[in-house]
Symmetry: C2
Subunit: 367 residues, 2 copies
Amino acid sequence: MAMKVKDIVFMNKGDGENSYVKSAGLTLKVIAKTQPIVQKAVQSLFTGTHSTPLQVVNVADLGCALGPQPLESMSIVIESIVEKCGELGCEMPEIQFHLNDLAGNDFNTLFKGLSVVQEKYKNVSWFAMGAPGSFHGRLFPRNSMHLVHSCYSVHWLSKAPKITSEAGLPLNKGKIYMSKTSPPAVREGYLSQFEEDFSSVLRFRSPELAPDGRMVLILNGRQSADPTEKDICYLWDLLAEALSYLVSEGLIDEEKLDSFNVPYYNPSQEEVERVIDKEGSFTTEFSDTVVLEIGGKNAWSDPGLRIKGYRCFSEPILSHQFGEEVMDKLFDKAEEILAEDYKQGKEATKNISIVVVLKKKTNQTWT
Amino acid sequence: MAMKVKDIVFMNKGDGENSYVKSAGLTLKVIAKTQPIVQKAVQSLFTGTHSTPLQVVNVADLGCALGPQPLESMSIVIESIVEKCGELGCEMPEIQFHLNDLAGNDFNTLFKGLSVVQEKYKNVSWFAMGAPGSFHGRLFPRNSMHLVHSCYSVHWLSKAPKITSEAGLPLNKGKIYMSKTSPPAVREGYLSQFEEDFSSVLRFRSPELAPDGRMVLILNGRQSADPTEKDICYLWDLLAEALSYLVSEGLIDEEKLDSFNVPYYNPSQEEVERVIDKEGSFTTEFSDTVVLEIGGKNAWSDPGLRIKGYRCFSEPILSHQFGEEVMDKLFDKAEEILAEDYKQGKEATKNISIVVVLKKKTNQTWT
């Protein structure tokens, strides 16, 4: 049976040692770095052609996961609106957040965390809903969303690209993502799946956005045209190496490793823009590539922390393919390799994000 | 520290033997019996003074819990709209469900169940959100809801009534709810807390309803003026008797039993109507008392099934007060007493519901 991404792509649940709640510090750094862009997009909702000021601002967070990240994004939106309304002297609208993720996401933990935001913004009238479902399909009613926001989600594909020979044999043996040694068919398969999926994210959002609505999408991407550049392949190469070690130890089947590819893609800014133009529902108001230094003296200076950062989002999918029982061994081995790479300065040192702000084209209003 | 109802009132989680998902069959019967009333209220949304037909129908289910009950309520709403639109020859609107319960509710299990409805209504454009929070406060933006529905939730109080003597001593010793032997202060305390809480449910919903919006509230209530009539006190008297047995066995402290009262109230139709009139935001379009026969040859013919039905909603709150470790013993003892009562025909034989359909008064439109 084909792997159903919707059942296995989620962030580690709860708030334990390896949970996403505890370990997704990098996403928080990306949120902090891109805050001015989100703020500007939010505030542009108040300077458009609306005949009356918005009474309710509907905000969606696609693939929000759980923990401090969605809460931080909510705070940024609330503060941006408070600031803008202060500036314009207009009455504060009510704000309704729609926190979206696949139904396998730990919404119970997400909801319990909302009290933090409640404490922080007692004087603002805001509401939070959980919206379970895939952003590769419809999620919200027509013309309902003023701001659709997503940080580090839409680089997840709806399924792993099909990368086999005509005879059905795996073409990406010993690897789980694009790599320097992968044949061209692997890169082509990944790019093609990304184009299809990212295009569907845009197509399904288009009817859902209110006129003049904005989308801010932040994807984990890459800087160069080369889809196998070290900074993006490093993580998956590292895990593939650790998996190969487990194969050599007889702990997992070689066939399981050879046939597996992660449903994830790091696009370049140019690839993102090309899909947006081709899909046609949105105008690009802003587009940029944002670089964060990692490793060394920066974030993730410690291999242990970095492995936790990798584990909290890759474990559910790896555990589904290779078994829960080998996960500790897998990440221990990966940490060992990473520590050695740190000594030799071989680890990836950059985290790349592609950020776009999109506006719904006016002729796209659905009735 | 005062007991916080929002942390302890929830239905048993998951889908195990004592779960609400498996054991809340009585609520399903209430939903089936009141279906024509809900249907009529939904369809009345399409025959009002709306200048244009609704494009999106926003529906809220207050205190929806989890399992088949909220899914069944969604089905009734969808089918009512499909039928009405067929009749009127109008285009189907999109439907957005807001499934509300306290943040302690098991939303993860609730969301996983949505696939059942998805399979059933593939050709209808509907969306479901989880809306965590207390219905004794604001939950949704202004003027947003067309239908607010609630089955067997708003009889839960925001807190247990304070029933002590002037010296602070408990007045409802050995009981956990109103009972034949309770002094008048107990009944007064309960009624007063219900009036305050039910009034706040109405007051907080009023700004949230769209013009011409409807509320359908179904409460577990009583038939007569006497708030200690057998059919409503039976459950809590039974549990109090089982708790007293555990006290006599030294398994729980007498003081814990004496000071405890459940935050629950079974109002009469007249009490419900009086609060609605006094609060003033809504016109009552329909009001009735609905009786279901239980026990004997009807639903819950078996004491074991009936105890599971009681346990799935009372366990979290009892377990918080008396400890998880005594729950099996408590419900075993209660089943023993119940079985004896069945033999002697002493058990409650009626389940009473109060049903009201309310329309937002036109001068209550909030801007």
